[in-house]
């Protein structure tokens, strides 16, 4: 209590205009920025993986399993920031037991469980089953047992069984694409359906969320592929990388168009909230929205990828451009989430004033916790890669 009051008192001096007294405490902080960021990476990585299985994009084969494991690693971590920000995490199970059917947030548990159990785990299991059985048959000790348990003690690697696996993967992927859309579209709906908040309330929100999710997912897999492959002293396959960069480019064009449409629409309709929102965008959000999200995270990567295509850049240069572009995109999408979540709480619902967000360093909702939550999926991914090597050469032990 005292800590909170100490945190809030200096904010009183930084408020401009008038905000409702209950609005001094900003309720959704850095953890709620992380939540849509992490689920976005999950949905994006999965959709990238499904390009291989459903749309038969052969060039992307080397990244298929990497993308699946990435999606799983991030999905495991995704509920953590939500749990951390609750006033009563110990009561969170009530969302499952007595969900309010009119609440978008209440559906979280069901969407999450469906996506984890019915889509990701199932697809990974079917895709890896044959390899896990083969690995287990040649290994000893703990690893053998881990693989045996992960394969759920199945042993059948007859042609018929493998054919069934392949078919199942395809079916699960086909179910998975709308599920991934649901997973992230619904996160957008959590914000887009709040009519009290003119910055959030937009029918485009779920769609913008979705496409920015795909953008961030592709960029993440590109980064992981480019970091991990040299670490294993293997050559990076240029056709794969080019394809990744192309998809990144096209999806970014869609994402950019949608965001531009949203922006133009708001300005053209020029509703009651336009004054305070312009003040927000040209003031407190200028750096994170215009400079980082739009210029660094969108226009520069778009232009640089386009330049490599137009000037037919040599491979080494392309690699560097792709890598830097992907990093910029990740930063850009993170600030997109920031601008939505934090930006939507910086102005008062009285539409008469602006407040500030002061992140704490320590504590459950502080900077350190956020960094921890961001690093955790990479540790999980490392373990998953050790346990279920996603490389081509691991397929035939």
């Amino acid at each position: 209590m005292e800590e909170l009051v100490q945190h809030l008192t200096p904010i009183l001096k930084e408020i401009t205009g008038y905000i409702f007294p209950n609005e001094v405490e900003l309720h959704w902080g850095i953890l709620i920025v992380l939540y849509p960021y992490l689920t976005g990476l999950v949905a994006g990585a999965f959709i990238l993986a499904s390009l291989v299985k459903v749309f038969n994009v052969k060039e992307l084969q080397p990244t298929y399993r990497i993308a699946m494991l990435t999606a799983l690693a991030f999905l495991i971590v995704a509920p953590l920031p939500l749990l951390g920000h609750l006033g009563h995490p110990e009561k969170s199970y009530e969302i499952f037991l007595t969900p309010n059917t009119t609440s978008a947030m209440a559906m979280f548990g069901f969407v999450y469980a469906w996506y984890l159990m019915a889509v990701l785990l199932l697809e990974i299991w079917f895709d890896y089953r044959r390899d896990i059985i083969l690995w287990a048959s040649k290994e000893k000790g703990i690893k053998k047992w881990i693989h045996k348990i992960v394969s759920l003690f199945s042993k059948d690697i007859s042609e018929k069984a493998i054919h069934f696996d392949k078919k199942s993967v395809k079916i699960v992927t086909i179910i998975g694409i709308p599920s991934a859309f649901l997973l992230h579209g619904y996160v957008g709906f959590i914000f887009g359906s709040i009519k009290a908040n003119p910055w959030w309330s937009s029918v485009l929100m779920p769609i913008v969320f979705l496409f920015s999710a795909i953008v961030s997912g592709i960029a993440l897999v590109l980064i992981i592929y480019m970091v991990v492959t040299p670490l294993r002293s293997k050559p990076i396959q240029m056709d794969c990388l080019d394809k990744l960069a192309s998809y990144l480019f096209y999806v970014m064009i869609i994402d950019f168009s949608l965001e531009a449409l949203d922006f133009i629409h708001r300005i053209y309709e020029s509703e009651e909230s336009i004054k305070i929102l312009s003040e927000l965008v040209s003031g407190k959000l200028f750096v994170s929205l215009v400079v980082i999200q739009l210029l660094m995270g969108m226009l520069i990567p778009l232009a640089s990828i386009a330049a490599t295509k137009i000037f037919k850049a040599p491979s080494e240069l392309k690699k560097m451009v792709y890598f830097i572009a992907a990093i910029l995109v990740e930063i850009g999408i993170f600030t997109t989430r920031w601008n939505i979540v934090i930006g939507g709480q910086l102005f008062s619902k009285s539409l008469r004033g602006l407040t500030v967000y002061k992140m704490t360093f320590f504590g459950l909702e502080g900077f350190l916790a956020a960094i921890g939550i961001l690093i955790l999926p990479f540790i999980i991914l490392f373990i998953l890669m050790k346990l279920l090597p996603p490389w081509e050469e691991a397929r035939n032990p």
């Binding site: 209950n22 405490e25 609750l86």
Partner: protein, 264 residues
Amino acid sequence: MEKKTNEAEKKLERRNFLKKLAVVSMAPIAFGFLGSGEKLMGLKKWVLDNGYVPKDHKWGMGIDINKCIGCGRCADACKNENNVPREPFFFRTWVERYRIYDDGEVLVDSPDGSIDGFEVLSTKKKMERSFFVPKICNHCDNPPCVQVCPVGATFKSEDGVVLVDSDYCIGCRYCIQACPYGARFLHPVTRTAEKCTFCYQRITKDKLPVCVEVCPTQARVFGELNKKASPLVRFLRMNKIGILKPSLNTEPKVFYANLDMEVK
């Protein structure tokens, strides 16, 4: 004979056990069935024990802006009555001062929610109009906060009052985001959502909400919306009435007389 009854008892026991097992195993998937209805049982029992029947009432409030002098006694009394933390970040009700100058500038303030009243202003600019606006939860008939609560901890009672069951609230703060009026806050000690209840502990015992009771100018009128003899119905008959943010279709049950267009 005894053996037979024993067996019958055993059978019954087994059947009961199976029934319980079925109920327990159904629990995780039986979402929606155990909705807010179940949760309201405790509250219902409490109010019925007091001889209060929620469905016989429909409460609302009228606020006459012309009568409010901005003394802030309502905000102060509310904090005392409802154990609201005294710090200036938590309010169930507060008073705003509006100053509209002839150059079109609008200044709004509410220092410490008006608990100590307002400072006298000195400005050379010419004032066009000025007034005080008490704010409170609007107890919307179509409440967005209730719609979004993931666990059904906040609900509209049968008498129209929007309440929070703090035993169920998980502190996700979605309701705070969904309220267009800034009427909710997270209680810093209980870590659950808090808001005006029209002093539910008082109105169920035939008393007025404390903010209404302490108002020296009777700017606040509390009463039944469905009973012709109620002072609130008379208030609605005698005044031109406005509500806050009508475009959001929240259907507030707090009605303002002499509401200015600048009030949001």
